[in-house]
């Protein structure tokens, strides 16, 4: 069977000593940044990007992937123990997880979170193995028209699914699109919004913007709050869930995994959306819905499974189409380009060891994480005692070095600082930076594909409707717009995102 063969290729590649080592480093780093509030996987991956140049491609990508899903495990630890979500995707976990901890069930909550994450990670890995090959096959038929329509669908989906105000979501995405326009126009060579600054002629670097918005911005927002560190970390006594607990978590884990896997594939999706959506659904359908917010174990199991499933399935569009569905995936695309690999449907057939190696390493990484997070939990918690006045300056320095080393240009450091301030303003205005990054990345690609499709069709816009795949995606996008516009459905959306 082909699947067995693929797993075989993946195992051979992932089980070399070097790749195991980098997988381990990746998940340890991921757990670390997941636990530490104010430092997320985006900033971490951005900082390490230039350093991965020295590594072989497989090891580099395995490590970076490990940081992303490792952060999903780490984020839940602090959410449960001290009600401080280390990652935005763990925000909902804190709702019930912390209550469980206060009732002396911290161990059970942590175990539930790790077990749910591990199960979801395993399922998601298999989903990638099953669905990536046919998707890559389909992607080879994608021309500029199909890519353009897919991105239209992606941007609209991310508006519809973004939580909070619809108006803000649209505004943020358009801001991202506009920032993405800075630079030289690919077709005509015209300079746009560069104001004669040569450094702007290639546009703003993705890493510069991402590190500013996610790294510096978060730190600024964190400094503002007086750090109330709960010195009394809940004592962890019993780890294993009881028989009764098992009965209650199996359903939520299965549902969380399902929703997470689906939402992860969508552009704009990934772990954050998955965890919010699955918590909302679980709260609706659970028999114990009255317990939600007061320490319901379902409220930990569902979002924790969902965020890990979503984190992993978001690799599917990146690995098969070369399209990043969230900022972390955009950085992975950058990492592949640094290694001289052009992301796209060819990667799977031309670099099978790389492709299957990454996929299999995800499962191995999840296994590492299970071990790291259950028996060694005490060690990680102690990390929270690192004082912020030491941590934050160190992070700033690393961000500075990271962004400088991409082009050896101080211009990028100023750019990062500027976006740090913008990121801080964003948090003040309760705007999410992720949709802006999506607009920033997809906007440039969309324009390119639009114009390329129009060039190839000699200026006939009907090309988007006469090609069936493209037409299909535009229809789905139109339905999504209608759905948000309908008052009844809009209400449901608001309710769903109220958590």
């Amino acid at each position: 069977m082909e699947l067995v063969e693929h797993i075989g290729i993946g195992l051979t590649s992932a089980l070399t000593f070097q790749n195991l080592l980098y997988c381990f480093i990746g998940v340890v780093l991921g757990t670390m940044v997941g636990i530490l509030p104010g430092l997320g996987p985006v900033a971490t991956i951005a900082m390490l990007l230039p350093a991965t140049f020295a590594l072989p491609p497989v090891a580099a990508l395995i490590m970076l992937a490990g940081i992303y899903y490792g952060a999903q495990y780490g984020g839940s630890t602090t959410a449960i123990l001290i009600n401080l979500p280390g990652e935005s995707s763990s925000v909902v976990t804190a709702l019930d997880g912390y209550q469980m901890a206060r009732q002396g069930r911290a161990g059970v909550a942590l175990a539930t979170s790790a077990i749910g994450s591990f199960f979801a990670g395993t399922v998601a890995t298999f989903l990638i193995m099953l669905f990536a090959p046919p998707l890559a096959e389909l992607a080879l038929k994608f021309g500029p028209a199909e890519y353009f329509s897919l991105m239209v669908l992606g941007l609209i989906a991310s508006v519809v699914l973004a939580h909070g105000s619809l108006l803000k979501a649209i505004g943020i995405i358009i801001l991202g699109l506009l920032i993405g326009l800075i630079g030289t126009d690919v077709t005509s060579g015209q300079q746009r919004f560069t104001f004669g600054v040569p450094e702007l002629s290639d546009g703003l670097g993705f890493v510069t913007v991402a590190m500013g918005m996610f790294g510096i911005g978060e730190i600024l927002a964190n400094i503002e709050h007086e750090q109330t560190r709960t010195a009394v970390v809940a004592k962890i006594t019993k780890l294993m869930p009881s028989k009764e607990d098992w009965k209650r978590i199996i359903g939520p884990i299965l549902r969380g995994t399902t929703f997470g896997s689906i939402l992860g594939i969508l552009p704009g999706g990934g772990s954050l959306l998955s965890s919010f959506a699955s918590y909302a659904i679980e709260k609706k359908i659970s028999k114990n819905s009255s317990e939600f917010g007061k320490g319901a174990i379902e409220g930990v199991a569902a979002p924790e499974s969902a965020n890990n499933a979503g984190a992993q399935t978001s690799f599917i569009p990146m690995l098969t189409l070369g399209i990043p569905s969230n900022p972390v995936m955009a950085l992975m695309v950058g990492a592949m380009i640094i290694q001289g690999i052009q992301p796209g449907p060819q990667v799977m057939s031309e670099q099978p060891a790389l492709f299957w190696g990454i996929v299999v390493s995800m499962w191995i990484g999840n296994l590492f994480l299970l071990v790291l997070n259950l028996p060694l939990i005490g060690m990680w918690v102690r990390m929270l005692t690192v004082p912020y006045h030491l941590l934050f300056p160190a992070v700033l320095v690393f961000c500075g070095i990271g962004v400088f080393s991409l082009n050896n240009s101080e211009f990028d450091i100023y750019g990062m600082a500027l976006f740090g301030i913008i990121g801080y303003v964003f948090t003040k205005l309760e705007c999410e930076p992720a949709p802006m990054m999506l607009g920033f990345i997809l906007g440039q690609m969309m324009e390119e594909y639009l114009r390329r499709a129009m060039t190839l069709s000699r200026g006939d816009p009907m090309v988007f409707l006469t090609r069936p795949i493209s037409a299909g995606m535009l229809i789905v996008a139109a339905i999504a717009i209608l759905a948000v516009a309908l008052p009844a459905l809009r209400k449901t959306r608001e309710v769903a995102f109220q958590e």
């Binding site: 021309g143 290639d202 000699r458």
Partner: protein
Amino acid sequence: MDMIRYMAALVAAGFLLVSTVGHAQDYPARTISVIVPFAAGGPTDTVTRLVAQSMARSLKQTVIVENVGGAGGTLGAARVAKAAADGYTLLLHHIGQATAPALYRKLPYDVLTDFEPIGLVTEVPMTLVTRKDFPARDFQELLSHVRRNAQKVSYGNAGLGSASHLCGMLFMSAIQTDLVTVPYKGTGPAMNDLLGGQIDLMCDQTTNTTGPIRSGKIKVYGVTTHSRVPSLPEVRTLSESGLPGFEVSVWHALYAPKGTPRPVIDRLVTALREALRDPLVKSRFAELGTEPVAEAKVSPDTLRTFLKSEVDRWGPIIRKAGVYAD
């Protein structure tokens, strides 16, 4: 950990840059940095890293490679043009050095007078390739098909001023037919679309095309060099096939800032020659589908003359096509 070593190198480089300037006799007394005006990981970066490593052995000094990308290589070149002329900051640039004066109207340096040429490094051949189901058995059929369907045949390139753009302009002017030009951001996405059959034609470096040609994923109709390419011996040159004098290569060369003392330049020429004789460099170049230039071409005078002739050659073609990058 790599990150730490990496940072240590950066810090060390910083300190060395501010240390005192030595005399030409003791050159090289400290770390030399070679600026690549492109991002890490590209073909020019790879070539530079290979050569820099080998030159370091010959100069008995550390040679670090710095990527200063942006604005088609002009940002990196501008930095070297303004650097101290002591032989500790060098530039490794490709054919873009010769096309920049025509592409950029506001270039902050003069490519002919602001640099001391050291020598040519390699001339990467280019290939004329098509999607694998392109309906032409040989170059003659390709020509007649292209001429008959000029409005339908699409030609991809890696963006303004890229080698594939230059080669395409030269090709269209040689066959006196305008094709539908489809620009991409970089050679990778363009190659992806050629592999997927979205575009018809492309002219790209052997570095990128040799693999897909050998595996039959794209078709090749000719190489753009004076003589056939060792890695693709069965492929005819375009000159042979009826476009006499059609020669393009992505040549790479090493430069120092204007006014670098002669003994320093001589020392660098020797080191570059030794590097290009290095079997390791030769074998890695072969993997990339290229080879080092003949030793006679590794000389300041040859490079000076060659650069001038390339500037004169591309200027009119670029101006005629009316393309500018600023």
